[in-house]
C-alpha cells in the first residue's frame, strides 16, 4: 500500500535563547560585533527526536500524548509549515491543515470575501470556490451573516466559517489539531460526520487530540508521543490503554507526594468534625502507623478503576492494651461530600482487646464510585468519640472510569428493554 504520509527519522530541534539574546537588536549586535555569536543558539531543545511514522493512504492516525510531547510539532512538519532539522517528511497529495481555524481571515472585510481569499490560500481556484460557496456557507450556518465583516462575528461563527472553508478544500490528506475542542456539541458532531465522510472516501487523516475516546472510536492506528519520542504505535485501543496507564502512574506519584506532605502537618482536634480541613489529632494511645490502599492486584496505589476491588489496610499500634476502641473509615469526594462512612461500632462489632501491632482491612468488593478524586478519613477512637488517632482527609485516591456517568455513587444496575426498541452494537 502506498504511504500517504511518510515521516522518517525526523528530529526537530528548537533553539532556546538566553536572556541576552531576547533583547539583542541589530544595533547592539553590530556595535559589539557579536552578530554571528548572537545568532548561534545558547541551548537547543529537541521537540521531536528520531520519530518515524507512516500513514498508508486512506487510514486515520490518531496522535496522543501529554502537552509538550511534540504532537503539534509533528503536525506542522507534516503540513510543511516548518522543516525538520534531521530526517525527511514526504506527503502525497493535497494537504489541508486544520491547525487554527480562520487563521487567514481579515477582520475588516466580509465573510464572503474571506471565504474566497482563504480558499485561494488553501489552494483552490476562484471557480472551485464559487462552485462550493453555498455548501461552505450552509455548513457554517452563516447565511444571514456572510456579507458582514468578519470582525463582527462571534468566535463560534468565526471558527465555523474557518472549518467550513478548510474542509471544503477537498484535500487528500487532512491534518487536524485539536480543533474539535472548541465548538459546541452540535457543531462537533457535524465535524465528526464530515471526518467520517472523508474516511469513507478513502482520504488520509492525521488527528492530534486529547480526546482519547475519539482516537479509540475513530482512528485506525494510534501514535503515542512522549517528550519527542514514540512511546507506542499501533492498535488504538492498546495504545490508548497504555497511555492511560502511564498517566495514572504519574498521577499516582503526584498523589503519593501530596499525601506525604499532608501527613507531615499536625493539628489539634477541631471544634466541628464535619467542617474540619485535613489534619491529624488524638491522644495516640492507639496509633495509626500506616494506611495503604491496594487494588485488585494487591499492589498499593492511588488510582483505581471504578468497579474494581479496593482494600484500605490500616496498620495499628497500641503501646498499652486497650479494650474500648472503634475503627472508622469515611470516603469524601472532591466537593467534600461524604460518600460513605462507617465504623466497627456501627457495624455492631464489640471491641475486646487491642495491644501491640495489629492490622485492620476495610475491603470494598466493588468500588462503585463515579470518576473523580476522593479523600479518606481513617480514625481510631473510643465508643464515646474520644479520639486515639484521627486522620482527617489525609489519603487521596482517584477513581477512573471508562463510563462518564455522574453523581456520587453508581448503584449496581442494568438496562433491560422490551418492545420495538433496539440499539446498535458498539464496537
Amino acid at each position: 500500500m502506498t504511504q500517504a504520509i511518510d515521516v522518517s527519522h525526523v528530529s526537530k530541534v528548537y533553539r532556546r535563547y538566553a536572556r541576552r539574546r531576547q533583547f539583542a537588536t541589530l544595533k547592539s549586535a553590530l556595535l559589539s560585533g557579536s552578530l554571528i555569536r548572537d545568532l548561534a543558539p545558547d541551548e537547543t531543545f529537541a521537540a521531536l527526536d528520531d520519530v518515524t511514522v507512516s500513514v498508508p493512504a486512506g487510514r486515520t492516525l490518531g496522535v496522543i500524548g501529554r502537552n509538550g510531547s511534540g504532537k503539534s510539532t509533528l503536525l506542522k512538519l507534516v503540513a510543511g509549515i516548518t522543516k525538520p532539522t534531521r530526517g525527511t517528511v514526504r506527503v502525497q497529495g493535497r494537504i489541508s491543515a486544520l491547525i487554527e481555524l480562520g487563521a487567514g481571515f481579515h477582520p475588516e472585510i466580509s465573510g464572503r470575501e474571506n471565504v474566497f481569499i482563504n480558499g485561494i490560500m488553501l489552494g483552490l481556484s476562484k471557480r472551485e470556490i464559487a462552485k462550493r460557496f453555498d455548501e461552505i456557507v450552509d455548513f457554517a450556518e452563516l447565511k444571514d451573516f456572510i456579507d458582514a465583516p468578519v470582525k463582527t462575528y462571534s468566535s463560534g461563527m468565526y471558527m465555523r466559517l474557518g472549518f467550513a472553508v478548510a474542509i471544503n478544500v477537498d484535500p487528500d490528506v487532512l491534518l487536524v489539531d485539536e480543533v474539535l475542542a472548541v465548538g459546541d456539541e452540535s457543531f462537533t458532531h457535524k465535524c465528526l460526520d464530515k471526518f467520517a465522510e472523508f474516511k469513507r472516501r478513502g482520504k488520509t487523516i492525521l488527528l492530534v487530540t486529547h480526546a482519547l475516546g475519539l482516537v479509540e472510536r475513530f482512528c485506525d492506528d494510534a501514535l503515542w508521543l512522549d517528550a519527542g519520542h514514540v512511546r507506542g504505535a499501533g492498535d488504538p485501543k492498546r495504545i490508548v490503554g497504555a497511555y492511560i496507564t502511564d498517566v495514572e502512574t504519574t498521577e499516582e506519584q503526584h498523589l503519593a507526594a501530596a499525601d506525604a506532605k499532608a501527613q507531615e502537618g499536625k493539628s489539634t482536634e477541631p471544634a466541628d468534625m464535619f467542617q474540619a480541613a485535613e489534619g491529624r489529632w488524638g491522644s495516640r494511645e492507639v496509633e495509626i502507623t500506616s494506611v495503604t490502599l491496594t487494588g485488585e492486584d494487591g499492589q498499593a496505589g492511588h488510582v483505581f478503576q471504578s468497579g474494581e476491588r479496593l482494600d484500605v489496610r490500616i496498620a495499628l499500634h497500641a503501646a498499652q492494651p486497650v479494650e474500648d476502641f472503634v475503627i472508622g473509615v469515611g470516603v469524601f469526594n472532591a466537593e467534600g461530600v461524604c460518600c460513605y462512612g462507617t465504623n466497627t461500632n456501627l457495624e455492631e462489632l464489640t471491641p475486646e482487646r487491642l495491644s501491640g501491632d495489629a492490622e485492620a482491612t476495610f475491603s470494598i468488593s466493588a468500588l462503585d464510585l463515579v470518576e473523580g478524586t476522593y479523600k479518606l478519613d481513617v480514625g481510631v477512637h473510643k465508643i464515646d468519640g474520644y479520639p486515639y488517632d484521627y486522620h482527617r482527609l489525609l489519603y487521596t485516591f482517584r477513581v477512573k472510569s471508562r463510563m462518564k456517568d455522574v453523581g456520587i455513587y453508581r448503584p449496581p444496575h442494568a438496562w433491560r428493554f422490551a418492545g420495538a426498541i433496539s440499539f446498535k452494537r458498539t464496537t
Binding site: L26, I81, A97, I120, K126
Partner: protein, 263 residues
C-alpha cells in the same frame, strides 16, 4: 530556489486577491473610500503648492512650476517609502498565516508593494490633470518610457522589500532604523531639488543612489522638455535590479525556514 520562484507565478491569483483585499480593507469604514487614493495626492500637491508659492517661495532654477516638479518625484517616492515601511513589519503582522497555514511568505511583501503601486497609479490622474493644466511638454515618445520606469521601480522595490521583511523577523528594530533612513534617503534623492542644481561633488553621490535615476527619469519624461536622455541609466538600473531581485529572493529563501519559529 528556482522551484519556489516558479511557484510564485502559480500564486498570481492569490496575490491578486490579497492586493484587492488590502485595498478594500484599507478604505472599509471611511466615507470617501477609494476616493482617498485620489484625494491624498491632490491634498499633498495643494499643500506643497501653497507652501512653496506663498510661505517660502522656492527658486529652483529651471524647475518651474516648482510644485509640479516636486510632485513628479514625490508621488513615486511615496509608493517606494510606504512599501518599504509596511513590508518591514509585514511578516510579523502575518505571523498567523506563517505559523498556522502553509503559506508562501514572500507573497506578503510582494502584496504590500503592489497595493502601494495601485495607490500610486490611482494618484496618476491627478498628476495628469495638473500636467495638462500647467501645459507640461509631454510627448508621446517620452510617455512610452513611463511604464518602463514604473516597472524598474517595481522590480527594485520588491527586491528591497523581500530583504527587509526577512531581516526584520530577526532584527525587529530595522523598522525604527528604516524610518530614519528613509528620511535621509529622501533628501539624498533629487526630488525637492533638480539634479542639475546639485554641486558637482554631490552629483557623484547622487549617481550612486538608485532612486536618483528613477526620480530623474520621471522628471525628464513628465516635466522637462526635450528627449529622454537618462534612458541608459534607467536600463542599467533595470538590469541591476533584476540581479538584485534574484539575490534578494535567494536571501529570503534561505531565511524562509526560520520564519515560522521566529515571528
Amino acid at each position: 530556489m528556482f522551484h519556489n520562484l516558479a511557484r510564485l507565478l502559480r500564486h498570481r491569483g492569490l496575490i491578486q486577491s490579497l492586493v484587492a483585499r488590502e485595498l478594500k480593507a484599507r478604505y472599509r469604514g471611511s466615507v470617501l473610500g477609494f476616493f482617498w487614493s485620489f484625494f491624498n495626492p491632490l491634498l499633498l500637491l495643494l499643500v506643497y503648492s501653497f507652501i512653496f508659492k506663498y510661505v517660502m517661495p522656492a527658486k529652483a532654477e529651471g524647475a518651474e512650476p516648482y510644485a509640479l516638479f516636486m510632485f513628479c518625484g514625490i508621488l513615486p517616492w511615496t509608493w517606494f517609502s510606504s512599501s518599504l515601511t509596511e513590508s518591514a513589519g509585514v511578516l510579523i503582522a502575518g505571523s498567523n498565516l506563517i505559523k498556522k497555514v502553509l503559506f508562501p511568505a514572500e507573497i506578503l511583501p510582494i502584496v504590500t508593494v503592489l497595493a502601494n503601486m495601485i495607490h500610486f497609479l490611482l494618484g496618476l490622474p491627478i498628476l495628469a490633470a495638473f500636467l495638462i493644466w500647467y501645459r507640461a511638454p509631454l510627448t508621446a515618445g517620452e510617455l512610452l518610457w513611463f511604464p518602463i520606469i514604473v516597472f524598474v521601480q517595481l522590480e527594485f522595490t520588491i527586491a528591497l522589500a523581500l530583504v527587509l521583511s526577512a531581516l526584520t523577523v530577526h532584527f525587529r528594530d530595522i523598522r525604527d532604523i528604516l524610518a530614519n533612513l528613509l528620511t535621509l534617503w529622501f533628501f539624498a534623492t533629487p526630488i525637492i531639488y533638480p539634479y542639475f542644481n546639485a554641486p558637482p561633488f554631490a552629483k557623484k553621490f547622487l549617481n550612486l543612489n538608485p532612486f536618483s535615476h528613477l526620480a530623474i527619469s520621471y522628471q525628464e519624461v513628465l516635466f522637462f522638455p526635450g528627449p529622454f536622455g537618462h534612458w541608459k541609466w534607467l536600463l542599467a538600473l533595470g538590469v541591476a535590479s533584476a540581479f538584485f531581485f534574484v539575490l534578494a529572493y535567494f536571501v529570503f529563501d534561505r531565511l524562509r525556514d526560520t520564519f515560522a519559529e521566529e515571528v
